[in-house]
Symmetry: C2
Subunit: 299 residues, 2 copies
């Protein structure tokens, strides 16, 4: 298998009811890549500034992630600051300093061009499309997007959506994309735009998978404490694509198992700030929580 | 089996994005009793005014519900008006005219006193306690409550909570009751107050059952159209208690199945205004949707 992710690498300042951290490793590409790395090799594409310490790249490398596609540009690494409300459902963005991410130009190393599983994290839809033009024979392409692109770059977004197999998106943005509230109708409208598979992430309420004629409702894992929801969605996508890439057939059963693995990785992600939980997370812990998801939803 | 419910019988004015209705049959006791009636005999206790037409009592009677405990008092039947927001998650109460419900005094007919399964719908906790004093050998007692009693009659509420086996409550009110946000901790705090079983209803996000050492996450059924969420929570409770009363043992498996039957009944309830969906709902449809819940959550 060969999983490719293209997206942000960032420094985050985060405030939650559990505490605050400054300048910690973040970014969609990092969360995705680390989560997916538990299932096999991952290739990452991103950009960092001259201020980005090697230790972060070393951490990704130790997780078996190919970081040749993360290039260094003159300037500052993307920085984001957010403050979560008591409910953890909602957050305020305190600042966004794009830095070198503003000029991000995803050129794939030649060795990446045969990637079979591709995740286009939340970046400009034209850049997402540019990545697709560089992969030779993808088996499964999924993408994320956000309100900013839905509002500002609709035609480009629709072009990209027409080219992917799956959209992994949160409920709020899925509703915004379709102008519809009911999630069954939301998913149908999105599938009319291109993706045959739609996953709607609902934070602490789990995720819904729409594929073929079926709907699958995955619960979120009921945790006694959530320290930091940042990166949960990208960890979900990483677990999902990583697990999917291990499967022989991409049928309904495989997709459902992959959604649960995505939920497992997201549930670990939020237990600590930044990617800290992944620094000590083991494969057996993942399998054990997968089994607990079964216990959680079996009747 | 013998299921008893005590609660409101009402006329509702309801506005939702799907339409509006005036003076339709409503009230927690009605929704509960009709939902539970698909599983066996139900006894209802409530009060109606002189304006309450016999046809409503006839409808309950046709569903096999014993209405001898619904007494008629001089005055007007309880009236409630509500308007739902686009999201259906939220509603504004437009008016509440208690009428004869203000003087509601739940005296159980002698024939009801041996009821084994008891549901105390959302009424003053002292009245809930009064009902418990009249049942001779209950096997399982569950209750609901709301913000009004949590704020205004806390000591009485705690007395009643100490006497029940299960609390069936929505997430917002569960959080208000405990002053805690995280639902795992919320459930633990509620169980410290008495109930060994806690069910937290989350509307379109399903329900969480806490029992023994286990947690069970039941999805909500993804419907293409919801006309009217009124009564969903009481229909859930009716399906839950009704199905539970059919079981031999009240173990984890029985509780989980019952939660799914509750979810099934709630999912039918919201398809139409008032209790209209139940006027034509058949037993086989319930079993078919139960099977679809399995397909929805199996991986």
């Amino acid at each position: 298998m060969s999983v490719l992710v293209v997206g942000s690498v960032a420094f985050d300042d985060i405030e939650t009811p559990a505490g605050r951290v400054k300048g910690v490793l973040g970014g969609a590409a990092c969360y995705f890549a680390v989560a997916a790395s538990y299932f096999g090799a991952v290739r990452a594409v991103g950009v960092v500034g001259s201020d980005f310490p090697d230790e972060h790249l070393d951490f990704l490398g130790e997780r078996g992630i190919d970081t040749r596609g993360i290039y260094r540009a003159a300037g500052s690494t993307f920085r984001w600051g957010g403050r979560y409300h008591e409910s953890l459902d909602d957050r305020d963005t305190l600042f966004t300093d794009l830095g070198v991410f503003d000029g991000f130009n995803p050129d794939l190393p030649e060795a990446y061009q045969d990637s079979e599983y591709v995740f286009l994290a939340n970046i400009h839809p034209s850049l997402q499309l540019r990545v697709l033009e560089q992969v030779s024979a993808p088996r499964f392409i999924a993408m994320d997007t956000m309100n900013f692109w839905i509002e500002g770059t609709r035609p480009e977004l629709e072009q990209t959506l027409a080219r992917v197999d799956g959209l992994v998106i949160n409920d709020q943005e899925a509703r915004q994309l379709t102008g519809e509230h009911n999630l069954v109708r939301v998913a149908a409208l999105i599938r009319d735009m291109g993706p045959r598979i739609v996953i709607i992430k609902r934070g602490e309420h789990g995720a819904l998978l729409f594929e073929g004629e079926g709907v699958f409702a995955a619960p979120a894992f009921p945790l006694r404490e959530v320290q930091d929801p940042t990166g949960a969605g990208d960890s979900f996508a990483g677990g999902f694509i990583g697990a999917l890439a291990r499967e022989e057939e991409l049928d309904g059963g495989a997709l459902r198992r992959a959604v649960i693995y995505g939920s497992v990785l997201a549930s670990f992600c939020v237990e600590r700030f930044s990617l800290d939980r992944f620094r000590e997370l083991s494969g057996p812990e993942i399998e054990e929580r997968f089994a607990r998801f079964r216990a959680l939803s079996t009747f």
